[in-house]
């Protein structure tokens, strides 16, 4: 399924599958096609969806190195490790100097599964920032 097909199938979903959130889609061109999904009311922290050969990756970027209080960095990373398993469906990661939460889905995932993943990932991203804001400048 191409990114465009994913958008089409997501657009067909009932609002309750999206847990009431309206999704706004933007395809970001580049070497690697990325779909930006903005949840209404949460536009500042969008979910990005990209397709690899074997999986669909949903990523939300949290903060970059420059935002972390230097003295809190170790505590923050330990907290991420501690939270990694309890946090439903998402994991912490780092891409370059950006910290992120992400979830990986099978390429055969249904639109419902993708929508569920997007909402959960957004919830997790906001919770993570909330919980770890003390570590940030």
């Amino acid at each position: 399924m191409s990114i465009k097909d994913i958008v089409k199938s997501l657009e067909k979903l009932d609002s309750d599958v999206r847990e009431g959130f309206d999704f706004d889609y933007q395809i970001i061109p580049g070497n690697e096609e990325v779909l930006q999904i903005s949840l209404q009311g949460r536009e500042e922290i969008p979910v990005y969806l990209t397709e690899t050969d074997t999986q669909l990756l949903c990523i939300s970027y949290l903060w970059d190195e420059s935002e972390i209080k230097p003295e809190s960095r170790t505590n923050m990373i330990e907290m991420m490790l501690d939270m990694n398993i309890p946090m439903p469906l998402s994991s912490f990661s780092r891409i370059g100097d950006k910290y992120a939460v992400f979830g990986a889905l099978s390429l055969n995932s249904s639109a419902e599964d993708i929508a569920h993943e997007i909402v959960i990932l957004s919830d997790n991203a906001i919770d993570a920032i909330d919980v770890m804001s003390d570590f940030l400048k």
Binding site: I28, N31, E32, E44, T52, E67, I95, G96, S133, L136
Partner: protein, 230 residues
């Protein structure tokens, strides 16, 4: 050094400049070639295996046939001996002795085919494991590459639209504020709603002529007519 170690060393090494490839495109090509080679090896080995197993089956059938023949002729020789025809028995025995070397040869051939088949099966299994391993590494390399590219596409998109990525704390604050605004609006709407239902009740009462005195053009006219008549 394994390829994965190289990737992680590159990632850790801070190769984080925009547009700088973390994963060497050449490394991906090499891995992809290795996967293709392994797949070709497996296809070839499986083809060989089919052939060897077919020959093994042929040998088995031949052995069966020869063994049956030996048993058959042994029966005939026994019969000849029973009838006291030693000459015929010797002739039959000679016949058996010409079959037996064939049988021995076939058995040897079969053993060799079996061993060959076993080796090929082992080879296929080993190559398949190797292939799975290569594929897994390739997935990891390509995923690393995709995520890097996606991240730089997103960053470029922000740069091109002249907007800046907000800090996480600011983003959270704004989202919380929006949630609060939404909740406030919802509450205001509820209040308004209940006020509206009050006024609509009043309207109904008015229509029915219940409640406070209502003055309409008609009632005013009636009043004036009444005054005039007086």
């Amino acid at each position: 050094m394994s390829l994965l170690k190289k990737i992680f060393t590159a990632v850790r090494g801070g190769a984080r400049e925009a547009g700088e490839a973390i994963v060497d495109a050449n490394a991906i090509r090499i891995l992809e070639q290795e996967v293709k080679d392994a797949e070709a090896h497996i296809a070839k080995a499986k083809q060989d295996l089919t052939m060897v197993m077919a020959k093994e089956m042929q040998s088995s059938r031949e052995i069966e046939r020869l063994k049956k023949q030996v048993t058959e002729y042994e029966g005939y020789a026994m019969e000849a001996l029973n009838k006291g025809d030693e000459g015929l028995a010797t002739e039959i025995a000679e016949k058996i002795s010409t079959i037996e070397p064939d049988l021995a040869m076939q058995e040897e051939t079969k053993t060799s085919f079996s061993a060959h088949a076993a080796r090929l099966k082992e080879l296929v299994k080993k190559t398949e494991r190797q292939l799975a391993e290569h594929k897994r590494q390739l997935v990891m390399v390509k995923t690393t590459d995709s995520v890097q590219k996606a991240t730089s596409a997103i960053s470029d998109n922000f740069t091109n639209s002249n907007s800046k990525m907000m800090s996480a704390s600011d983003s959270l604050q704004r989202i919380k504020q929006k949630q609060k605004d939404f909740d406030d609006k919802l509450q205001a709407a509820e209040i308004l709603d209940s006020e509206n239902s009050d006024t609509s009740l009043e309207a109904k009462m008015k229509q029915a002529g219940i409640g406070e005195n209502t003055s309409s053009a008609n009632s005013v006219l009636e009043r004036i007519k009444a005054k005039k008549g007086a």
